[in-house]
Amino acid sequence: MVKSYKKKKRYFIPLFLAAGIIIYTAFLVVPIFNSMILSFYSGSGMTPSEFTGFGNYIKLFTQFPFKERFFGAFGNTVKFFLMVTLIQNVLGFVIAIMVSRKFAGSKIFRRISFLPTTLSVLAVGFLFSLILNPIWGFFDKILEAMGLEFLIKPWLGIPLTALPILAIVVSWQFMGESVLFYTAGIDAIDSEVLEAAKIDGAGLLAEVRYIILPSIRPIIGIVTILIFVGDFTQFDIVYAMSTSMGNPSYSTDLFGSLFYRTAFSSLERGGWGMGMGAAVATIIFLIVSVGVLFWLYVFRMKGVSQSE
């Protein structure tokens, strides 16, 4: 990669980079550090000015109701993430194996499976709220028609079932992403290897276990990290299906909704002021960062940071 141009003509390099570095740094990198700094201050309004050291964090981890809300949202987020990862990875993988085989319509099926992913999470959340809505009762009517009346319940109104419903809706929407990524991984496997396995008499299960799974492990990693980062900052689905309060009784409150409420809502709607909001954002950021490193290690990925 030795360049044969003259040194003095390099003036354009900083010029070409300037816009990218400035916008990316000022609006993506710096704001996160700003939140970290702000998390050490308390006070009302947009610019808390009273330095409190770790005061906000101590409040967050030890005092009512901050502690309850924070750990509640943490627990919900972990459960939500586990449910979505399980559904999306397992079902997505099974479907990918199906559509990576050539059959009439397999190409079209691949395209269709991604369709829900293109919709807005907000609209999808509202749509499923309406389907489950007891007044209109579409879901209830289907259950009735199938003779399953005992299953008619206000699913979104029961603390135990509301969160799994949200997880199912999000998995439904983003299943196509898993299918797309896994299909790409399976397509990239050398077809000679698969042929050789078939000649050796390997069944479908053996093929999956010894050839497909090992070769798409990095992709399982990518999918898991995407779900992880997405779910730990998920907000739209909570807003659409159970308001930013995480109804009923905070059972669907996730990190995303907790952050929104604490930082940007008025006091009577669950706001804690900018300083506390910044502390919440900082903790979420730390958890997400540690989590991503953990997943990179688990899947022993080269990682995007060394993708060359």
């Binding site: 990669m1 360049k3 044969s4 390099r10 354009f12 390099i13 070409f16 816009a19 570095i21 916008i23 990316y24 000022a26 609006f27 993506l28 990198v29 704001p31 996160i32 939140s35 947009m46 479907i95 199906m98 691949r110 395209r111 269709i112 499976s113 991604f114 369709l115 293109t118 919709l119 807005s120 999470v121 907000l122 609209a123 509202f126 749509l127 309406l130 579409f138 009517k141 299943m175 797309l180 990524f181 790409a184 008499g201 479908l204 900052t233 739209d236 807003y239 659409a240 952050f259 929104y260 930082a263 940007f264 909001g277 954002a281 900082t282 979420i284 950021f285 990682g303 940071s305 993708s307």
Partner: protein, 277 residues
């Protein structure tokens, strides 16, 4: 033995596939079809096709709200953001891919890190900056945030693409007396058009659907984008089912149509990205 087991497994898998296909279409069709029904028909005929296809709900939506303004705002935000993302990331990618300078590798990783940094968590800082810049409650703030979010993916895809262009092409242009910036727009840009298209298409969907930043950064009605309007209208007309389904269909139809037209490029672009990671 193996064959029988495989056969059973395969029919089980086919059943899963069929159920999955139905589950994809059912909610989307339900939404679109219900939006064409009158309010009474929604209750008397919830499953069937509408008796008469009527657009009353859509006409009403445009009458009672500033829907055309929201639509215009969404288009302006999406088009401007994507245009800027393409220019800014291709310029940066060109330099990163083709020249060695101090910190070039670091710079690449610095940009790429943005692929997994959740920008939402910097929203407090962004809000304060926008207020300082007098861009709060202005769709320009949404454009800036979208550009910051779009740069990492743009650099990720374009840097690789530009690296694959043989250096001989640039060298022969240099011999002809081409300056480096001229090499960029005379030789590189025409060659990376497919990659530019992929970056544009893949960025369109999250930009169009973004709800979080408008919710925090926009207040005035004439600055609202479609997702924000969707939430507003849903809250206002929650019991008017026909109208609500029209609202949800209006929010979804642009992306559905966009995707159906460009799905081939879309899937190709994303799949290539997945394999590279």
């Amino acid at each position: 033995m193996i064959k029988i087991k495989d056969g059973l497994l395969k029919s089980l898998l086919s059943i899963i596939l069929i159920i999955y296909a139905v589950s994809i279409f059912f909610p989307i069709l339900l939404m679109l079809l219900t939006s064409l029904k009158g309010n009474r028909e929604i209750f008397t005929n919830p499953y069937g096709l509408p008796h008469i296809f009527n657009l009353d709900n859509y006409i009403k939506l445009i009458k009672i709200s500033n829907y055309l303004v929201y639509f215009k705002n969404s288009i302006i935000v999406a088009v401007t953001s994507i245009f800027l993302i393409l220019i800014i990331s291709s310029l940066a990618s060109f330099v990163i891919a083709k020249y060695r300078f101090m910190g070039d590798r670091f710079l690449y990783f610095y940009f790429i890190a943005g692929l997994i940094i959740p920008i939402k968590l910097g929203t407090i800082g962004i809000l304060k900056t926008m207020i300082t810049l007098h861009l709060f409650d202005n769709i320009a703030s949404l454009v800036i945030v979208n550009v910051a979010m779009g740069i990492p993916f743009g650099v990720f895809v374009l840097t690789d693409f530009i690296r694959m262009i043989p250096e001989e092409l640039s060298n022969s242009a240099r011999i002809d007396g081409c300056s480096e910036p001229k090499i960029f727009y005379k030789i590189i840009v025409p060659l990376i058009r497919p990659a530019l298209a992929a970056v544009a298409i893949i960025n369109f969907i999250p930009i169009w659907n973004d709800f979080w930043f408008p919710l925090v950064l926009i207040r005035s009605d004439n600055m609202k984008t479609i997702p924000l309007a969707t939430a507003l209208l849903y809250g206002q007309y929650e019991t008017n089912f026909g109208l609500i389904f029209a609202v949800l269909s209006m929010a979804s139809l642009p992306v559905i149509i966009f995707y159906l037209i460009l799905s081939r490029q879309f899937i190709k672009g994303l799949a290539a990205g997945a394999l590279k990671g």
